[in-house]
C-alpha cells in the first residue's frame, strides 16, 4: 500500500475512532453522527496531507513534526468552529497527526515509477 493511501486510511480510521469517543460525553451525544463524520473527514484530510509529505520527504523526525502540526492545525480549526473544547479537541487531534506522521514514514510503500 502506498504512503498516501496508507495515510488516508489510517487517518480515516483514527479520525472515526476519535469521533466515536464523543459517545462517552453525554452533553454532545446527540450530535454523535455529525462529530464522527467531521472527525473522519478531518482524519482523511490529515492523512492525505501527511501521506503526500511522506512521499516527498524521507525523514522520520520531519514526518512526525509535520504530522503533529497538521493534526494540531486541523483540530484548532474544528475547535474554533465549536467555540471551545480546545484541549479536548486539539490534544487528540495532534496525537492522531503524530501517529499518522510516524506511520507513513515507517510503513507504507514508496511510489513506484511508471514503466513505459
Amino acid at each position: 500500500m502506498n504512503k498516501v493511501l496508507f495515510g488516508l486510511l489510517l487517518g480515516a480510521v483514527l479520525g472515526a475512532f476519535d469521533g466515536m469517543t464523543a459517545w462517552f460525553t453525554p452533553q454532545v451525544r446527540a450530535q454523535l453522527a455529525g462529530i464522527v463524520i467531521g472527525s473522519t473527514v478531518k482524519g482523511l484530510v490529515a492523512g492525505i496531507l501527511i501521506g503526500l509529505f511522506a512521499r516527498k520527504v524521507h525523514s522520520l523526525a520531519l514526518g512526525i513534526v509535520f504530522g503533529l502540526a497538521v493534526g494540531l492545525v486541523l483540530a484548532f480549526i474544528v475547535a474554533q468552529l465549536q467555540h471551545g473544547y480546545y484541549l479536548e479537541i486539539m490534544l487528540p487531534g495532534g496525537m492522531v497527526g503524530l501517529i499518522v506522521g510516524y506511520a507513513t514514514q515507517r510503513y507504507g510503500r514508496e511510489a513506484q515509477p511508471l514503466r513505459t
Binding site: D18, T21, F24, L91, P92, I99, R106
Partner: protein, 325 residues
C-alpha cells in the same frame, strides 16, 4: 651426543617441507598453516612485488590422485569468482614435483577467533555473509563438504571468505540442473572421492559421514547450521548447549542440521531468508510460534507504533473520565 629437542624436531620437519621454488617467481617468507592435503606458505611474488599464499602438496603424498585433487581445488576456486571466495592467481608443479597453487593472502582472523567479540545480531549477519558465497557455489554446482569455523576467514576489511575447497566436488545444481561448464569437470572430481569419508566430525552431515554417494549441496546446509550453532553458543553443535538461545534461532539450526536432507533448507539462500526474517522480527519459517510469542514479536517489531497508540488511548480514556467529573 645431545638429543634433539621437540622444537628442534618440529623446525627440521618444517624445513623438510619447504617447497623448492627455484624457477618460479616466488620466494618463501614463512609457514602459514597446514591443511589436509598440503601446507600453505606465505611467499613473495617477485614480479608483482606482493605477498601471496602458496598451497603446496606434502612432500610424501599418500595417494597419486592427491596432486590432481589439489589442482582440482585450484580449478574450482578459479571458476568461482565471488568476493566471498578466495581468488586463485596461479597453479602448476614445482621443481621438486609437488603440485601447488597460488592464492590471495588473507590477513585477518578465522571465524572462531573473530566471533567471540561480536553480539548476537552481528553474528547472524556474519553467517548471512558466509551463506552468500556458498549459495553462489551451489548454484554453479559445487559442494564445499568441509565447512567449519576454521575454514572461514574474516579479512582486515571485514570481508568474509570461505577457504579450503580441498574436499569440494561438483554435485547436482540445486535448481537448474548441471551446467555445461561444471559438467565438463564432473567426471574427474566425482571419481576420486567416492566411497571415502572426508570432512570434519561435528560439522559433517550424517550422509557424508556414511560416505553416501548421493551427497548433494544440502550437506553444506548441514555444516552451515552447525556453524550457526557454533557462532551462537560458542560450542560445537550439541543440543545440550542451547540454553539461552532464542527459540526461532534454535529452530533454524535444527532445520539446517536435520538428519534427513529433505527436511533441511533447500538452499543457503533459503536459510539466509529465514535469518533475515529473524533479524527484522518477522515470523521465521522454521519455527511455529505461540500466540504469546507472536504478540511479543509484533510488539518488538512495531514498538514505537504500539507505544504511540497506547499513549493515544490512555489520553482518550483520561479525557472521558475527566468529562464525567
Amino acid at each position: 651426543m645431545k638429543p634433539l629437542t621437540d622444537s628442534a624436531v618440529a623446525r627440521l620437519q618444517t624445513d623438510m617441507q619447504l617447497p623448492d621454488l627455484s624457477g618460479t617467481r616466488y620466494c618463501v617468507i614463512r609457514y602459514l598453516a597446514r591443511g589436509g592435503m598440503g601446507t600453505v606458505w606465505l611467499v613473495e611474488d617477485t614480479v608483482l612485488l606482493r605477498r601471496v599464499a602458496l598451497k603446496v602438496l606434502d612432500l610424501v603424498s599418500p595417494a597419486e590422485d592427491v596432486a590432481e585433487r589439489l589442482l582440482q581445488e585450484a580449478r574450482i576456486l578459479a571458476s568461482l569468482e565471488h568476493p566471498g571466495i578466495v581468488p586463485v592467481h596461479d597453479a602448476g608443479t614445482l621443481a621438486d614435483g609437488r603440485a601447488f597453487y597460488c592464492m590471495k593472502f588473507i590477513e585477518g582472523h578465522t571465524l572462531a577467533e573473530h566471533v567471540a567479540e561480536k553480539g548476537l545480531r552481528e553474528r547472524i549477519r556474519l553467517l548471512e555473509r558466509i551463506a552468500e558465497p556458498l549459495d553462489f557455489a551451489h548454484v554453479r554446482g559445487f559442494i564445499h563438504r568441509d565447512l567449519k569455523p576454521e575454514n572461514i576467514m574474516i579479512g582486515a576489511f571485514g570481508e568474509v571468505l570461505i577457504m579450503d575447497w580441498g574436499l569440494a566436488r561438483v554435485g547436482e545444481q540445486p535448481e537448474s540442473g548441471t551446467s555445461n561448464s561444471s559438467r565438463s569437470r564432473q567426471g574427474r572430481s566425482r571419481d576420486t572421492l567416492q566411497g571415502s569419508i572426508l570432512g570434519t566430525p561435528g560439522y559433517m552431515s550424517p550422509e557424508q559421514a556414511r560416505a553416501d554417494s548421493k551427497v548433494d549441496h544440502r550437506t553444506d546446509i548441514f555444516s552451515l547450521g552447525a556453524i550457526l550453532w557454533f557462532m551462537l553458543t560458542g560450542e560445537a553443535p550439541d543440543k545440550e548447549s542451547s540454553v539461552g538461545l532464542p527459540r526461532p534461532l534454535r529452530a533454524i539450526c535444527t532445520k539446517a542440521m536435520a538428519a534427513d536432507p529433505g527436511e533441511r533448507y533447500s538452499s543457503a539462500g533459503a536459510m539466509n531468508a529465514d535469518l533475515a526474517k529473524y533479524l527484522t522480527n518477522a515470523p521465521v519459517g522454521a519455527y511455529r510460534e505461540s500466540w504469546f510469542e507472536r504478540a511479543g514479536r509484533i510488539y518488538a517489531r512495531h514498538r514505537v507504533a504500539v507505544v504511540l497508540l497506547a499513549a493515544y488511548l490512555l489520553m482518550r480514556g483520561f479525557f472521558i473520565l475527566w468529562s464525567r467529573r
